[in-house]
Amino acid sequence: MANWRLRVHFFIKLLGVVLAGVILGLGGTLLMLERGVSFGAVKAGPWTASPHNGSLDVDPYARAMFAYTGELPLGAAEGIGFTAQKDSMGAPLNAHCDYIVSGHTPQARYWTMTLLSPEGLPVANAARRYGFTSAEILRAPGGNFEIALSRHARPGNWLPIGDASKFMLVLRLYDPDLNIATLSLDEASLPALIRKNCR
C-alpha cells in the first residue's frame, strides 16, 4: 500500500516538474523575443545593429525574433539598420519628452531616420512625417544635422512623436562604406540622442 502511494506521489511530482519546466522554457522564449535578444549585436551609444541579420548567418534567436515580429531585415549588400530604444544616457525613450538627435552618421550613399512604434509601424501624426532621408534633412554648415523629436511642432528638422505611448528610432544606412561583417563602431560615429524637456 505504501509502495503504491509512493508511486503516485512520484508521478504527481514528475508531472509538476514537467509542467513547470515547459512553462519556464516558454516564458524564457517569450522574454527573449520581447527584449529582442540577438547574439553578435554591435552597440554604439544608444544604437544597436546586428550585422549578421542580413545573411544566412543569422543566429537562431534573431531568426525566431523575425518570425515573431514579421520584420524583413536589410540584406548585407543593401545596408544596415540601427535601432535605439534608449537615449544616450541609457534611459528608455519616453513619448512625453522632447529629444534632440544630433551629429553625423557613418559614410553611406543614403540614410534614413524613422520613428516607429514598438510593433514597427510609423506613428500617426498631423504632419504625416514619419522620418527623414539624408537628401531632405537640413544641415549645419559643417554637415552635421539636428533632428528634434517632439509631440509639438519644432523649427528645423521636426520628427513628430504623435500619440505614441512608446517609440523607437531606426537609422538605416543604405550602401554604407562599412565592412558590415567586421562592424565595430564607437559612439561618436553615430548621432547622439539627448533628452530635453518632459511634460
Binding site: K13, V17, V18, A20, G21, V22, L24, G25, L26, G28, T29, M32, G54, S55, L56, V58, P60, Y61, R63, A64, F66, A67, Y68, T69, G70, E71, L72, P73, L74, G75, A76, A77, E78, G79, G81, R109, Y110, T112, T114, L116, E119, G120, L121, P122, V123, A124, Y130, G131, T133, A135, E136, G162, V170, R172, Y174, D175
Partner: protein, 196 residues
C-alpha cells in the same frame, strides 16, 4: 530518509526542471520560425501572383504587411517556386537613385542582396536557379562553348521557394511615384524548364 538523501533528491528534481525548461526553450526558438509562425511568404501568397512583380502597400500608421519597413521606400515582391522553372528578374535601373534587391527564403532570410550599383549598362539581369537547373545550364554552356560570357547574373537558391524583395528609396515624399516607377521597371518571370 536522511537529510542528505532529501537534499540529493531535491537537487535531482531541480536538475530535471532546468533540463526540461532548457529543452522547451531551445525547441521553441528553433521551431518558431518554420512551424509556429506565419512566414512572410504565406502572407504574400495571399495577394501576390507567383513570379509576378507585385507592389507592397507603403508603410503607414495602423497596419503594415512588413513591420519595420522603411516608410521612405516603395517595395515590390516576386514570389518564386523553382520547381516551376528558373526565375528571371530583369529591368532598367537609374544609376543615381537607390534601388536594392534581396533574395530571400520563405521565412524572409536573405541569401543574396545587391544595389543598383551592380547594374551593367543600366540593366540588372538575374537568373535564379536550383542546383539541377544551374548544372543543366552549365552543361548547355559547355556544349555551346562559344566563349562569350553570359550577360546575366546566375544565382543559386538554397531553397526551392522564396521571394525577391525590391526596394526603391524616395528621397522626398514627392518622389514616391518616381520610386514606384523604378520598382515597376522590373519584370519577374518563370522561365520554361529546358526540354531535351
Amino acid at each position: 530518509m536522511t537529510s542528505l538523501d532529501r537534499a540529493l533528491s531535491t537537487l535531482l528534481w531541480l536538475l530535471a526542471l532546468i533540463f526540461i525548461a532548457g529543452l522547451a526553450h531551445i525547441l521553441t526558438i528553433f521551431y518558431l520560425p518554420t512551424h509556429f509562425a506565419k512566414v512572410p511568404m504565406e502572407t504574400f501568397a495571399a495577394f501576390a501572383k507567383q513570379s509576378q512583380l507585385t507592389l507592397l502597400p507603403q508603410a503607414a500608421p495602423g497596419a503594415s504587411l512588413t513591420p519595420f519597413a522603411d516608410p521612405a521606400t516603395v517595395q515590390g515582391i516576386c514570389t518564386f517556386d523553382l520547381a516551376q522553372g528558373p526565375l528571371h528578374v530583369h529591368g532598367d535601373v537609374d544609376r543615381d537613385r537607390l534601388l536594392t534587391m534581396s533574395f530571400r527564403t520563405p521565412a524572409g532570410m536573405v541569401f543574396y542582396s545587391l544595389t543598383n550599383r551592380a547594374a551593367q549598362k543600366g540593366k540588372l539581369d538575374i537568373l535564379l536557379l536550383n542546383t539541377a537547373q544551374l548544372e543543366a545550364l552549365e552543361a548547355e554552356d559547355d556544349a555551346q562553348d562559344e566563349g562569350a560570357p553570359a550577360q546575366d547574373l546566375r544565382l543559386l537558391s538554397p531553397t526551392e521557394k522564396g521571394f525577391v524583395l525590391l526596394s526603391a528609396l524616395a528621397n522626398f515624399p514627392s518622389e514616391t511615384a518616381d520610386a514606384e516607377q523604378r520598382v515597376k521597371a522590373f519584370t519577374c518571370e518563370t522561365q520554361e524548364p529546358a526540354t531535351d
